[in-house]
């Protein structure tokens, strides 16, 4: 059974619909990237999985237990979007988090975890940490009891580039160790680099879910550059206006039809370059967002 299963989950807050019939799963040894614009429902989905919110309909399982069951969270590590802590130093925070998971860590084990997440400041009151350090500490708290499932809500949003690289490496290590990871982030390139599967949420609906290669493959385009060609109205109606560089971007499966139209109008093809999409273009295309300059 997958480590995490969302099964037709819907969530309403009054009349507002936060999630609508969302289903996906995260298997052991797999990272699933959860992406979507602000308000898409990413945090709601994660909060339902952790048990903070109850689904309006549908349900799911976390480590074989129903959402909300404390036993389910025994093997869960969770990093919230804005971590907060009780008073104390890094060791106090780690010990408290571990004890709530029925684990009593040794000093050496805590030092190992803190080193692993790159936190070097151990003695100061953690509430005075920078946001980046707090994020590292939250990650350490999530890892201190060796969880089999991780739910990470923007775990690197406050980290510097070096920190982002370290988190990326850490996630890959954890996946290799067999952990299942659900990762939400606005840093789409980071998500694309580490995720085995991507779930794109928009306005509470799951728009796409699958392997990145499959998703990107479905939007492959070809950029066509033509010589001595003035398109007529019928051509423009079918293929649109050329872009700024005087080229047309068309779906790769429409190449043959495009060329037939071009040749029928007596134009000459100068070049045809496959354009491979990336997660960002995919995201913008499916969520209907526009690149703002």
């Amino acid at each position: 059974m997958p480590a995490l299963v969302l099964d037709h989950v819907s969530k309403h807050f009054g009349k507002a619909e936060a999630l609508n019939d969302v289903s996906f799963a995260v298997d052991a040894g797999q990272i699933v990237g959860l992406v979507g614009p602000n308000g898409a429902g990413k945090t709601t989905a994660m909060q339902i999985a952790v048990g903070f919110l109850l689904p309006s309909s549908g349900g799911g399982w976390l480590m074989g237990h129903r959402f909300g069951d404390a036993k389910a969270r025994q093997l869960l590590g969770f990093v919230p979007d804005a971590p907060v802590f009780f008073a104390g130093n890094a060791f106090d925070s780690l010990r408290f988090a571990a004890q709530l998971q029925d684990v009593t860590p040794t000093r050496e084990a805590m030092e190992r975890v803190l080193t692993r997440v790159g936190l070097t400041e151990w003695k100061r009151d953690v509430r005075r940490f920078s946001r980046g350090m707090q994020q590292r500490l939250a990650l350490a708290q999530a890892l201190v009891h060796s969880p089999r499932m991780l739910i990470l809500d923007e775990p690197a949003s406050a980290l510097d580039p070096q920190g982002v690289l370290e988190v990326r490496a850490l996630l890959k290590e954890l996946r290799a160790e067999g952990a299942a990871i659900l990762l939400s982030s606005h840093q789409l390139s980071e998500v694309a680099l580490v995720s085995d599967r991507i779930a794109i949420l928009h306005e509470g609906r799951l728009l796409r879910y699958g392997q990145l290669d499959e998703l990107i493959g479905s939007t492959e385009q070809v950029e066509m550059v033509l010589r001595s060609f003035t398109p007529d109205a019928e051509f423009v109606a079918r293929w649109g206006e050329p872009n700024g560089a005087g080229a047309w971007r068309i779906p790769s499966k429409g190449t043959r039809d495009f060329l037939e139209d071009v040749w029928a109008l007596g134009a000459e093809l100068m070049s045809a370059t496959p354009v491979r999409g990336d997660l960002t273009s995919l995201f913008l295309e499916w969520t209907g967002s526009e690149v703002r300059q």
Binding site: L54, D102, Q141
Partner: protein, 230 residues
């Protein structure tokens, strides 16, 4: 045992976060004693009994207002996320809130037990007042935790005190042991059937507190956490 240990660990964190408030309240009986003894004069028994009565009501208010405010504070600060994302049930969490509102009262009662004899309070008056305070606080903590699920902190505290006082309004034939405890707290010691009143009061308060706490757990388990989004 494990659930209680978890609740105690969480309660300890909550108490530490509010340590200055507790400290101030725990020092209050000593401050009152110092004021009454100031100038080397021995205070009149009526003054001492009035002060004890007043302090007992403060004690109940302490439990009601802290019990009513804790859940809201923890949700607002989002520290609840740190706790409930771990292997902690909602029951254990509410248990921690209950303990964090009741345990300072135990210290407060100890303070009163120590300062009372210094002021010349008779043993009968003291043990009855403090016994009634402890028993009624069990109930107040449960009521405050229940009320805090739906009401803002101060309102929850006030509502729990009002509900606690309802037995005083019951007609004589319907009076509960709790009514007797409230009377002891508000009007001084009872001499008639006091053992029966305390024995029944203990049973009644424990049963009612447990029932109210259980209702709070059932409701909390069926509710979303109210988390401010960042």
């Amino acid at each position: 045992m494990k659930p209680l240990m978890k609740s105690l660990r969480i309660a300890r964190q909550l108490l530490w976060m509010n340590r200055w408030l507790w400290l101030l309240l725990v020092l209050w009986p000593w401050g009152m004693a110092a004021m009454l003894l100031a100038g080397g004069l021995h205070p009149a028994p009526e003054d001492v009994e009035a002060a004890l009565e007043q302090q007992s009501i403060y004690g109940l208010a302490l439990v009601a207002f802290t019990g009513g405010a804790l859940l809201g504070n923890e949700q607002r600060s989002r520290r609840i996320v740190l706790v409930l994302s771990r292997a902690v049930s909602r029951r254990e969490y509410l248990g921690a809130l209950w303990l964090a509102s009741f345990l300072p009262l135990v210290l407060y009662v100890l303070d009163l037990a120590l300062t009372g004899p210094m002021l010349g309070v008779s043993a009968l008056v003291l043990w009855q007042a403090l016994g009634a305070l402890l028993l009624l606080s069990l109930m107040t903590a449960s009521l405050a935790v229940l009320a805090s699920l739906t009401l803002p902190g101060v309102v929850a505290g006030m509502v729990s005190l009002v509900v606690l006082s309802v037995p005083l309004l019951l007609p004589p034939g319907w009076q509960m042991a709790q009514t007797r405890l409230l009377q002891v707290l508000l009007s001084g010691p009872a001499t008639d059937h006091v053992r029966i009143a305390f024995g029944a009061g203990l049973l009644e308060t424990v049963v009612l507190s447990a029932a109210i706490f259980e209702s709070a757990v059932r409701i909390f388990e069926r509710r979303d956490l109210r988390l401010k989004s960042e």
